[in-house]
């Protein structure tokens, strides 16, 4: 990474830096297996912009590979997960986050399933309560049923 920095400086090349977008790193620079694990974990949270619902960690596209390399580099520099997600969100918007934030219209994604479950639960409970208090069906035969009277008459005759 340092070698790349000096090489780019030699060429007088400057690419947009994360520090200008999300400030200085607020975490600990990662290396080795910890770096690989965190890279994979954060890559699973970022949507590949050229794919259909794939995380950058699962996509074979060039764009996803660039983004994954950027995640890795930011972790090496000590950026936290929150800063890295914020860095990509500032360029791509909330679209890039596979787990939408609990704010604005996105809050509906979290609220609606719970609301639908709660409404269903209330309906079931209220229906069950009505069944419990419903009066028992009368088993007495109506006294003036002509059909029953005729049956009785036929039985008595036989």
């Amino acid at each position: 990474m340092i070698a790349t920095f000096f090489f780019l400086a030699l060429l007088q090349i400057k690419v947009p830096d994360a520090a200008a977008i999300v400030g200085q790193p607020q975490g600990v620079p990662l290396t080795g297996s910890q770096l690989e694990q965190r890279t994979m974990a954060i890559s699973a949270e970022l949507r590949c912009p050229v794919c259909q619902g794939l995380a950058i960690g699962d996509s074979p596209s060039i764009m996803a590979a660039n983004m994954k390399a950027q995640v890795r580099e930011l972790l090496e520099r000590g950026y936290t997960e929150e800063q890295i997600l914020s860095y990509f969100e500032k360029s791509y918007g909330q679209f890039v986050l596979l787990k939408p934030k609990f704010q604005g219209v996105n809050a509906l994604v979290w609220i609606l399933p719970i609301a639908v479950l709660a409404i269903g639960f209330v309906l079931v409970v209220s229906k069950a309560k009505k069944l419990e208090v419903a009066p028992a069906v009368k088993s007495e035969e109506p006294a003036d049923d002509p059909y029953l009277a005729r049956v009785r008459e036929m039985v008595d005759k036989s």
């Binding site: 007088q12 200008a20 977008i21 912009p49 983004m67 360029s91 791509y92």
Partner: protein, 171 residues
């Protein structure tokens, strides 16, 4: 009770139909850029075709059109003549091509075969593209003389689309 269930059902179905209807005709690949109205991310990149180093910030004072493309992108072949023709006709507008994940050799061959009228910069690791929220190529950003991104266009530009978006940078 049945009436309540019916009303709730109608509300849920209406909401689903509304969401589906609102999404009809929209490009599923389209990304609303949060950078519209924000300062363009600064970059200094080397031009493949002219050899000079271009610093975006040094171009303040005139509208800039930044076109992200690549030689492996088929729609970029279709768009290239439009950009070259407009760049020749609009000397007061700075056109910049930014190519990512490509090689100088392929870019130079492409430009030699199809013409060139503005600097083409190499974004070797795609960092500039990421900072601009580029989803795919071609993608074009229109920057006003104050250095603010005023429009983003996804896909190959026609002259009408280019001029329509450029007008936003000239307001």
């Amino acid at each position: 009770m049945n009436r309540t269930v019916l009303i709730i059902g109608i509300i849920i179905v209406a909401a689903i139909v509304f969401i589906l209807f609102a999404g009809l005709g929209k490009d599923p690949q389209h990304i609303d850029s949060p950078l519209i109205g924000k300062p363009a991310p600064p970059f200094t990149l080397k031009s493949v075709n002219t050899g000079e180093t271009i610093d975006l910030q040094s171009l303040r004072g005139k509208p800039v059109i930044v076109n992200f493309w690549a030689t492996w992108c088929v729609p970029c072949y279709e768009e290239h003549p439009t950009l070259v023709a407009n760049a020749r006709q609009l000397p007061n507008v700075q056109f910049i091509g930014v190519v990512f994940n490509d090689t100088e050799e392929k870019i130079n061959r492409f430009l030699a075969e199809r013409g060139s009228a503005y600097p083409t910069l190499l974004d070797a690791n795609g960092k500039t593209a990421i900072a601009y929220g580029v989803g795919g190529v071609p993608e074009t950003y229109f920057i006003n003389p104050a250095g603010t991104i005023v429009a983003k266009f996804e896909g190959p530009l026609s002259t009408e689309q280019l001029q329509e978006n450029l007008a936003k940078a000239l307001r």
